[in-house]
Subunit: 493 residues, 2 copies
């Protein structure tokens, strides 16, 4: 298509074909530093490396800091004559790593000739001049979530420079260092450094994957999130399963019963009021929903599942309801470490995704009310002996302190329309516009609540990237698409 | 009480009061060698050390071996004029250790001034001449289960020698090296070395704890055991809990529902036929049951529980029914490692204790029939994609290969009566005679089935010893009692 995007894309593609191996080796360098938000030494290493790389590309960089928090890597580049300021949000921290589950060290990036789920084999990183397949995958923590937009931005800047192209907007950079820990200091950062953000017209949030069809996707909100940890108690110490089995209470059994009471077999949450506070969709949102391609049968085949929650309701509709998901379960040990005991406790971790209208605290109240209705006594600390001797069913409930509500942005705003038009000129009709991401992004909530600035989520990475889990990866073709996309965003009229 | 036991007990007590610190340091030496059956290097170290110690006490020792199996430490001492041969069974292997759960290295024995559950503090091992409290506890893997009878035997032999007393029976020693792995080679050992066991009149099985009142206890059988591992599958890979939560199947939720269907809230197993094959008690067994002190309320206070399974039926009665206990549960991760994913599977480890009449294979068949009745498709290996795409509910069932049935010995046999009279002359009316241990001991089954020789279980260690779990310990007073008991058994008329 002949339009404004053409020269940017040509610059991007020419750069990729010449410099692909260099882009990938620079990316491997970025991915080799562990990046859990709690690992403050390595988080700072990440921040300084990223700061340096954007300084090298002509940005005025600084680390914004608050005591005890990972720094925000902040940058700006003012463009003479620009009438719009775009702030690009990326996060450089990642989810924790369970090394036992990975094929290799999560911070020693490895290339595979395709997804390991399709039998991909490890191959060497490409050398200068070697061809690179778009189906290759680079495996490392944060390869997709969320360092991919960083390397895409860096390469796009290099590509535009090589093509003698300038930027069309003032660009600000805001790189979060604790998004995967729910960005607990984000609001403090936005308050403390408020003056830096006043002139921003639109935030472009680079996080999350493209639509499952592989088509470009753009999201106008995200689900809210909160979580609860439930610990159910048996005897005060683990007991021999022979000497006490069939008499002593079994925490795993009691927990199973409690969890079963919360959800029907078809996935409907049975907690009173769980669906009562949902804001209805606007007419425009209903239209958008109708236009989203149904990918359920494709996904079911890909994921190897026959039956989904919700009696066949499509995924995109299910994401408009609050969820209640068991993300972790533990009692005693399994496998080789399994012992012949009755464990003294059992734990469930519940993930709750919220939709517009749901208040995180009130949703957790509903869960607690349900638990109490099942005859449980709720405690906030491990129970002492007096408590244990008083109540037959004791559960410790730990409520997340850093949940936040869902956001859905008004798509008709001018700045949002600018970005939509910009990307549409590049993606054409393939672009999928989603009312809300299924995922949650505190920045969505904070920007909207505190700055009143509109935001749009722009996605580049493959949907089957294993984000948050072991063997996270990015498909190389998606990385290349990301460079195209960033080149277009930096030059859109 | 003035009887035959008097001189043996005097010899034991005099030895303990002089040599207590030496006994404990020799015990610490025994406990410092890791002893999981799969750790073949250390298992052999244990075997050779034990062999040496009994050789030093005048026993004719040898290691019985079979390829790939831990050795049996075997020994004998023939006594001129003895008309009876007693074989003492102990096992020197221990349960696996989860180091994260222990207060200290499980193989670096530490003394505490009382149980850590009562606030016990670590104290140095006593030096020569220092007083030793009976309430002290020695913490280490196998401190109770089951190296305690080894040190009790060694000390009893030393005590009798110091008191110039001989043994009244021919003594054989049979020390198992894989009891905690269900002694898979025991039957082969009894077959291969059959000639060594033909002249045994009674087996004295030293394993398990005294009655919960602290009174001496003797058991005439044990429950059988088997186990099953259930793995329930969701999508083929872990999914982002935001992008798929409320649509993708949640294995933890599905597993909770399955487990809940197996057991009523009062602990009654709901699997069809689970209670149908139980052999009724004989009149004599019913009498024994009636004479066992009810310890439920004491135990409930000690363990910090209000409600037990079985609607208030006493523990000793509950042990005469088959059990179904969740000994392990796992899906995703909990605590600091919890991630925002929908895990791809969930695992439950089921412990099943069986009573006389229950066949292990048939009991597992009943569980499988129940699972199928709930609409599950059972597989034996992780399902491939074709299977995943065909069945909505898939569970992998791994059945234990080394379960065995329960045993209950006929108490009226002469050799059993000999031992009962011997110990009664020492313990008086306090002794508690139990129809069956709640625990399971393959040797019970094998001896009875293969050698037709009667066996009696003789207990010494405290019941709150945390056997099989973290922070296993032995109360020093129980160790001393064990030395008394062994001195009496070696000299009983």
């Amino acid at each position: 298509m002949l339009n404004f995007a053409q020269p940017a894309i040509e610059a991007s593609r020419s750069w990729i074909s010449k410099e692909g191996p260099h882009i990938l080796s620079e990316y491997a360098e970025l991915l080799s530093i562990p990046n859990h938000a709690s690992d403050s030494v390595n988080i700072h290493k990440n921040a300084r490396l990223i700061e340096q790389k954007f300084t090298d590309r002509g940005f005025d960089m600084r680390l914004l800091t608050l005591p005890g928090a990972p720094p925000i890597v902040y940058g700006e580049k003012l463009v003479p004559g620009a009438t719009r300021t775009v702030c690009i949000y990326v996060h450089y921290d990642g989810q924790p790593v369970d090394p036992l589950l990975w094929n290799h060290d999560a911070f020693d990036p490895k290339m595979y000739d395709q997804s390991i789920y399709n039998g991909g084999k490890m191959i060497p990183m490409p050398k200068e001049g070697e061809p690179i397949s778009e189906d290759w995958r680079l495996y490392a923590r944060s390869a997709s979530d969320d360092k991919a937009p960083l390397i895409a931005l860096l390469a796009a800047m290099d590509a535009l420079k090589a093509g003698n192209m300038g930027y069309s907007s003032n660009i600000k950079l805001f790189f979060d260092g604790e998004e995967e820990s729910s960005s607990p200091n984000l609001e403090s950062y936005l308050t403390t450094y408020n003056t830096l953000f006043q002139d921003i017209d639109v935030w472009v949030l680079c996080d999350g994957s493209v639509y499952q069809t592989g088509d470009p996707s753009f999201k106008f909100g995200g689900r809210g999130i909160t979580s609860m940890q439930l610990t159910v108690y048996g005897a005060e110490r683990p007991l021999h399963s022979g000497h006490y089995g069939n008499w002593a209470p079994v925490p795993g059994q009691m927990l199973a019963r409690l969890l079963t009471s919360m959800k029907a077999e078809d996935g409907t949450v049975l907690i009173d009021g769980y669906y009562d506070s949902i804001d209805p969709l606007t007419e425009r949102e209903k239209e958008m929903l109708d236009n989203i391609p149904n990918i359920d049968s494709m996904l079911k085949t890909e994921l190897g599942i026959v039956q989904t929650e919700g009696n066949g309701q499509p995924l995109m509709e299910r994401l408009l309801y609050p969820s209640l998901t068991i993300k972790g379960l533990s009692s005693g040990s399994v496998g080789d470490l399994a012992r012949n005991i009755i464990p003294e406790f059992a734990i469930a971790e519940l993930d709750m995704r919220l939709v517009k209208g749901n208040d995180p605290e009130k949703m957790m109240d509903l869960v607690e009310a349900h638990i109490q209705k099942q005859g449980w006594h709720i405690v906030r600390e491990d129970p002492d002996m007096a408590t244990r001797r008083k109540y037959p069913k004791i559960v410790k409930v730990v409520r997340s302190q850093d949940g936040f509500p869902a956001t859905r942005v008004d798509i008709s705003q001018a700045a949002i329309q600018d970005v939509i038009k910009g990307v549409e000129s590049f993606t054409g009709e393939n672009a999928v516009f989603l009312i809300s991401s299924g995922g949650s992004n505190r920045v969505n909530d904070a920007i909207y609540k505190m700055l009143k600035t509109p935001a749009i989520q722009v996605n580049m990475v493959n949907h089957d990237n294993n984000q948050h889990a072991a063997n996270e990866n990015v498909r190389i073709g998606n990385l290349w698409y990301g460079i195209d996309l960033m080149s277009v965003l930096l030059t859109m009229p």
